[in-house]
């Protein structure tokens, strides 16, 4: 058996591995899309430095 020959286990599980790979890739795309939407809509906006300063001074 040559060193480069694909192991039988890899052949046998290729369908499962490709499936899991595609699901994970889809999940990454989905999370990325969600992040873009949340950031651009301002859902994830951090308080501005002025707001933080005002609340620290007790004026908030």
């Amino acid at each position: 058996m040559s060193f480069r020959e694909e192991h039988e286990l890899h052949k046998r599980r290729s369908g499962r591995n490709i499936g899991v790979g595609l699901v994970l890739a889809g999940f990454i795309v989905l999370v990325f899309g969600l992040t873009v939407v949340k950031v651009t809509r301002g859902d994830m906006q951090m308080p501005s430095s002025e707001e933080v300063g005002a609340s620290a001074d007790g004026n908030g």
Binding site: M1, H7, E8, L9, R12, R13, G15, R16, I18, G19, V20, L30, G33, L34, V36, V37, R41
Partner: protein, 312 residues
């Protein structure tokens, strides 16, 4: 290690990707996707398409995860029943421990991701749905009481309520009515199946109504729940999610459903066996159309509302 120590997939019965998908009960998931999407789209608050897609997907994954937990716990009775013997765990393709691990991991992931994608109310409802299906129904009710389907049906009724919560962040009369529609529909749908699945549940020792109280009582229950379902289904027409399209669909289908339930009630076992449960099978098929058409009509009302055609 030589290659001879590895057998082919067919010989070992090793699970393929499709077997893991089957673990998530894709047919139930498709119904969950549909009803959750309708709940989300019928809500009066617009949701960004990406958020809507992600939320429905996570609701579906949560439902699938509870299906995997159900297959883990019920592997012993699934193996006995004809209808379920080919599921991945009883078929020996996926171990029960794998089903548990996949179910638990996907449950946690789905709830956390839904909370991040939408809100905590929707995520809380999804967590409760998974708990209700996996623990209350599967572990407790299913093997204990013939009312298992009635109470357990709540798990399948939550998805439109979760979809509504994704959009609105809360619960309202409309979402409760969508819940009630599926909740009241589940018993006649399942008991009709029990009537023509014959000895499957009996062999598995599951206390279905047909097993504990007999077929006469089951026929009476199918009629009773169908009568109780009708006002819920028709009444929904007069809320914010209803309208003339929904009302027309609800009136026609409830009349047909009541007629079917009446036919089931008035015949006896000898008649049913003579025509191979034709009436019961027809009623079961109608029940699938019934639910699809009701939620389709709610969706149609929501889709036509911006054109001034949907709703009252």
């Amino acid at each position: 290690m030589s290659d001879t120590s590895f057998n082919t997939q067919a010989q070992t019965g090793e699970a393929g990707f499709g077997d893991y998908v089957a673990l998530l009960k894709p047919r139930v998931m498709s119904l969950v996707v549909f009803t959750a999407a309708v709940g989300l789209l019928a809500a009066p608050v617009a949701v960004h398409p990406v958020v809507a897609l992600a939320s429905v997907l996570f609701i579906a994954v949560g439902a699938g995860a509870s299906g995997a937990l159900n297959m883990w716990w019920d592997a012993d009775i699934d193996a006995v029943m004809k209808r379920t013997a080919q599921r991945p765990v009883p078929a020996g393709l996926v171990t029960a421990q794998e089903a548990l691990a996949i179910g638990a991991a996907l449950s946690g992931m789905a709830v956390v991701m839904l909370a991040l994608a939408s809100n905590f109310v929707a995520a809380g409802l999804l967590a409760f749905t998974i708990f209700f299906y996996a623990v209350v129904y599967t572990m407790w009710l299913k093997r204990w009481t013939p009312q298992n389907i009635v109470i357990g049906g709540a798990a399948g009724a939550f998805p439109p309520m979760i979809g509504w919560a994704v959009a609105t962040g809360g619960v309202s009369l409309e979402s409760v009515l969508m819940f009630a529609l599926i909740f009241m529909w589940t018993p006649p749908h399942f008991w009709a199946l029990c009537l023509f699945m014959n000895s499957d549940y009996e062999n598995a020792g599951v206390p279905m109504l047909t097993v504990t109280h007999g077929r006469r009582v089951t026929r009476r229950h199918v009629l009773a729940y169908t009568i109780l379902l009708a006002p819920v289904a028709v009444g929904t027409a007069f809320t914010a999610i209803g309208g003339p399209i929904y009302l027309s669909v609800a009136v026609v289908l409830n009349a047909l459903f009541l007629k079917g339930a009446f036919d089931i009630w008035r015949r006896d076992e000898a008649q049913a066996q003579a025509d191979k449960y034709r009436v019961e099978k027809r009623f079961f098929a109608l029940s699938l159309l019934y639910l699809f058409a009701h939620f389709g009509a709610i969706l149609a009302e929501a889709a036509l509302a911006p054109l001034g055609l949907g709703g009252w």
